[in-house]
Structure formats: structure tokens, C-alpha cells
């Protein structure tokens, strides 16, 4: 434990002065939240840890571009968001190409089998929620994950995504309504719930 607790900006300054070991303080400070974010976006905990590791390497490389203004969190979540979306797009491309070649590599990020999670990490209900979440349109999912799991305010979400606050409000509201319909359908014994993902 560092005491007194240095601010993110102070640690970044130290790393940039050549104390690269100090970067570990930032990793410890943010790794839980970054991994959680990526895991909820990809619905895959193992993949999330691997992506998060790359995210931190990218953060390190790009530290010189960070402008100290007490908003390190937005800086790193922007990187995490971009790398996660890149990963999801690569997955989609892989599926597209493998289908084009008549092969299914079975690496669909929206695959229908349950995501790889250890038994302790998931109950039946959790799987269901994870499953519903990953079927949301990407923008809705991104806004909702930042709100619900990271407890970001709409302004913080704006700093990460570049979207306007009204757009964020609409995305989150729509995401919740969509999930609400799923829950209602489940409770009434309905089977599958969502139409195919749009865009």
C-alpha cells in the first residue's frame, strides 16, 4: 500500500520520468475494473484477462499522449474500449471469412453456447444475464456496462465514448427496456427472446 496515496497523474509523471516500476501501481489500481469491463463486453472472462493485459501494455506505450488533467480513468477506458471493440470486430471478421470459406471455426463472439466461465463464477441466472447482455447492440451494451458495472456517470461515459449525454441516456434507456422485455418473456415461460442483433 502506498501512503500517502499518490494521484494517478503523479504516478504517470513518475513513470514518464523513467520510473517504469511505478506503472505497476496503476495496474493494481485499475486492473480489476478494466478486466470487469472487458469481461462484460466480451462475455468471456479468460479472454478478458488476456485483452486487459494488452490494454495495459498499450496504456504504457501511450502514456506520453496522456494530458494530465485528473482524468486518467477516461484515458485508459478509451483505450480499453477501442481494443475491446477491435477484438469484437476481429471476431466478427473471422466468422465472416470462415463462413465464406465454408468452415465454421466456432469462434463466434455471439456464440450460442454458454461463455467460458468457471463453475464458481456463474450460476444459471448469471449465464442468462451474460447471454442477454452480449446480444445487445454494441453501443447499448457499451453504455450500459459502463453505467451498471463501472458505475460511471453519463459525463464519465461521454469522456470515454465521445457520445453526447442525450445519446447516452437514450442508449441506456433502450438497453434496459430491451432487457426488461427478455425478463418478462422468461417469466412468462417464453423461450428465446431477442430478435437477431441489428448492426
Amino acid at each position: 500500500m502506498e501512503e500517502p496515496r499518490l494521484s494517478d497523474d503523479e504516478i504517470v509523471a513518475s513513470v514518464l520520468q523513467g520510473n517504469r516500476r511505478d506503472f505497476e501501481v496503476l495496474v493494481r489500481r485499475y486492473s480489476g475494473r478494466i478486466i470487469h469491463f472487458v469481461a462484460r463486453m466480451t462475455a468471456d472472462n479468460d479472454e478478458a484477462r488476456s485483452i486487459a493485459q494488452d490494454v495495459f501494455l498499450k496504456i504504457y506505450e501511450n502514456l506520453p499522449y496522456y494530458r494530465s488533467e485528473n482524468n486518467f480513468s477516461a484515458f485508459i477506458f478509451r483505450i480499453a474500449r477501442n481494443m475491446t471493440l477491435n477484438w469484437l470486430n476481429r471476431q466478427k471478421r473471422t466468422i465472416f471469412i470462415s463462413r465464406l470459406l465454408g468452415r465454421d471455426l466456432g469462434r463466434d463472439p455471439f456464440r450460442l453456447d454458454p461463455p467460458r466461465l468457471s463453475p464458481q463464477e456463474q450460476g444459471e441466472r448469471e449465464t442468462l444475464v451474460t447471454d442477454q447482455l452480449r446480444r445487445l447492440p454494441e453501443e447499448q451494451r457499451l453504455a450500459l456496462v459502463l453505467k451498471v458495472y463501472l458505475e460511471f456517470s453519463y459525463l464519465q461515459i461521454r469522456d470515454v465514448t465521445g457520445w453526447s449525454v442525450p445519446k447516452i441516456e437514450t442508449l441506456i434507456s433502450r438497453a434496459k427496456s430491451r432487457l426488461k422485455k427478455c425478463i418478462l418473456l422468461q417469466e412468462s415461460g417464453g423461450e428465446d427472446v431477442l430478435p437477431a442483433r441489428k448492426k
Binding site: L63, I79, V129, S164, V165, E169, K176
Partner: protein, 147 residues
Amino acid sequence: MNCQQIARMLSASQDGELTPDLELEVRQHLRGCAVCREEGNRLQQVVRRLRLVPPPAIDPFFPARVMAGLGTRPLAARRLAQAVAYALAFFLIFAAGFALQTGSGRRATAVPAAAATYSSVLLEPQDFGLLSVHDDTLGLFAEAGRE
């Protein structure tokens, strides 16, 4: 405000994102409208369900793995300097070759040696990640000023 307008604001209200006067309007409406109250309950239920999913288990070795992964990885500014050094070294080699071919022999032979030394001192040839400086992972270019 009617129920439809209230319904559009319920989510933001539960997220604590409404202005105080709008929040007041929503609350007053909810007190008198069972339909919107029920809708509000359902939305809250959605969030409660989402929060049933816990964060992935903590991996105590994660920070150490990241630090090991850093290796001798340079910061972006140094990468830019490396790019310039590469360009300079290649230019020198090319210029030297050209000078040799056009025949002004003895003086030019010193140049490739100098260029090779320069590049071996400054550069880490295994690191070809230069492009990543420009890959806009930061979204600096795309997002700047977009609203």
C-alpha cells in the same frame, strides 16, 4: 407530463442523472400513477439482475504479468524517435549506395559503416510496432471534438 414522457425519463431518473426539477416531476407523477411505478420497478429489476454477475475472480499475478510483458517496451515518444532514426539510417545507406555507384569512391565507403553503427546503437530491430503509434487506439483523432 404524460406517462409516455415519464417512461422515457425513468432510466435516467434511476441513474441519478435528471436535473432536480425534472426529478421532482417524475417523483410526483410516480406517486399518483401505478402504471409508471410498475414500469420503474421492472427497470430496477433489470439493473439488479445485471449486478448478479460478479466481476471475474481476481488474478493476483496479473500485475506481475503485465510488468513482465512491458519488457523493454519503449514509450510512444521514443518509438517516434526510433521511426525517425530508422528513416535516417535507411536514407544514409541508400545515399551511400547511390554515391558508390556514381563513382565518388573512397569518401562514400565510410558512410554505410556510420549508418549501420548509428542504426545498431539506436534501434531495436525486433520492435516493429511503430505503426501502433498511429493506429488511433486512443481515439484521439476520431473522437476529438465529436459530440
